[in-house]
């Protein structure tokens, strides 16, 4: 076991980890962060996406020990001061059904909008292409991201 320290959603957290534990497991089981989901557990589905130093990554493919000294943001962090605009438009558009993929998609959309505040539909599709959704057929999700662009800033 090794003590690691990471900046999790703006707060410095210390946690004891075994080198074999993934970031996903440590977030969910030791740090009480339940938004990242375990879908495929091999990096294909995007349900476990989190932001690591501002970039979306698969937390199931990262060892917790690798994140010592790094900055991790999850949906809990994004919503700390209320919902972001894209989260709101996702609710308005009823973008999800079961919601299992939602946290991963919010992470991907947030990364996109941080880097590119006015993406085209193609750019939105590309940004979300690594997130699988088995309920909606994606259309309401894409519409929600598009709607979030109209007026107002994405914060």
């Amino acid at each position: 076991m090794k003590q690691i320290k990471l900046n999790l959603n703006g707060e410095i957290r210390s946690v004891l980890v075994d080198p074999t534990e993934t970031l996903l497991d440590v977030l969910r089981d030791k740090l009480g962060i339940k938004s990242p989901k375990c879908g495929c557990d091999r990096g294909d589905c995007g349900a476990c996406n989190v932001l690591l130093n501002g970039r979306s990554v698969r937390s199931c493919l990262i060892l917790a020990i690798e994140t010592d000294g790094q900055e991790v943001v999850t949906v809990e962090g994004i919503s700390q001061k209320g919902l972001s605009r894209v989260q709101e438009t996702m609710i308005n558009k009823n973008a999800f059904q079961c919601g299992f993929c939602a946290p991963g998609i919010i992470i991907s959309a947030t990364e996109l909008l941080n880097n590119n505040p006015h993406p085209t539909l193609e750019e939105i599709k590309e940004a979300l292409s690594g997130n699988l959704c088995r309920c909606t057929g994606y259309l309401p999700i894409l519409e929600a991201v598009r709607e979030s662009l109209e007026g107002g800033k994405n914060e």
Partner: protein, 288 residues
């Protein structure tokens, strides 16, 4: 899925330190950079290392720098790093395009170019570009350094010329003449799919044509017969149709869960013609 087998985790800050660990553990150690392949292998118990050596703290491996006419891409450089480099986009358009087709953003943010060739799966997207640009792989062991040509690198499916006590420092590419390029990838859907077949195409104003394939043989490879057939020739539809018929003799695809051999062969011909059209259209000073 939990990782069942225990291992030691090391994060050296110097190349020397990493090499010492490698010479100590040899085949019992694995290098960890992006981990997008490695962690899956650990979960599925396909490998059982005693030590993981995380090289992300080694600063020289994070470099990407131009020295004279050679670009060095450090082993820690991710596909996202390559996509964000203007130099890659302008001078190595094929590498840029191949990088853009690797899996999805969440993987590209983490997966490295060097890791891609170290995993050496036959479908690796970066291989056609590296083969066409005649890349060189810089590797180090405790007391030696050597350069391995990318043409000697791939020795079989998931096998490379790297020895167990060696560490890849990075990949070096010579700036090529102005050219245009296209990478055609056959997949079931966009984002997160392995190539069922892939072809990289390079065209320049001197009518130098280069082709390389992936996912249609045990190792990715240049397509020399096709290159020789088209060399210095003016391209027209009839010629391309003739050239496409050479392709089956250049590849040896298998039938597996992702595609049939016949389908792969057929699509390689289609993608060759499609890619040539795209590359010729954007060739500066080429076709009007």
């Amino acid at each position: 899925m939990k990782i069942i087998n225990d291992f030691e985790y090391y994060k050296p800050l110097e190349i020397k330190e990493a090499l010492n660990l490698l010479s100590q553990y040899k085949a019992k150690a694995r290098i960890l950079a992006g981990g997008t392949d490695l962690i899956v292998s650990l979960k599925e118990e396909r490998i059982n290392p005693e030590a993981l050596i995380d090289v992300k703290g080694i600063i020289p491996l994070n470099l990407m720098e131009l020295e004279d006419d050679k670009l060095f891409i450090g082993a820690n450089k991710t596909f996202t790093d390559l996509l964000e480099s203007d130099l890659i986009r302008d001078k190595f358009p094929l590498l840029w395009e191949c990088s853009s087709k690797v899996a999805s953003i969440g993987i590209r943010n983490r997966a490295t170019l060097t890791g891609n060739i170290c995993s050496a799966v036959p479908s690796l997207d970066s291989a056609p570009a590296l083969l066409i640009y005649n890349a060189e792989v810089l590797v180090a062991a405790s007391n030696t350094e050597r350069t391995i040509s990318i043409h000697d690198w791939f020795t079989g499916p998931k096998k490379s010329a790297l020895n167990t006590d060696e560490l890849v420092l990075g990949i070096s590419l010579k700036i090529p003449d102005k050219h245009s390029a296209s990478y055609q990838k056959l997949g079931r859907y966009k984002g997160e799919d392995l190539a069922q077949a892939g072809i990289g195409i390079y065209v320049d104003r001197e009518k130098d044509y280069r082709f390389a394939s992936c996912a249609v043989g045990p190792v990715p490879a240049r397509m020399k017969k096709l290159e020789a057939f088209l060399h210095k020739k003016e391209i027209n539809d009839k010629l391309l149709a003739e050239a496409a018929e050479i392709i089956p003799s250049e590849i040896s695809p298998i039938t597996d869960i992702r595609a049939q051999a016949e389908y792969r062969t057929h699509m390689m011909k289609v993608m060759f013609r499609r890619g040539m059209q795209i590359a010729l259209e954007v060739l500066p000073g080429g076709k009007e």
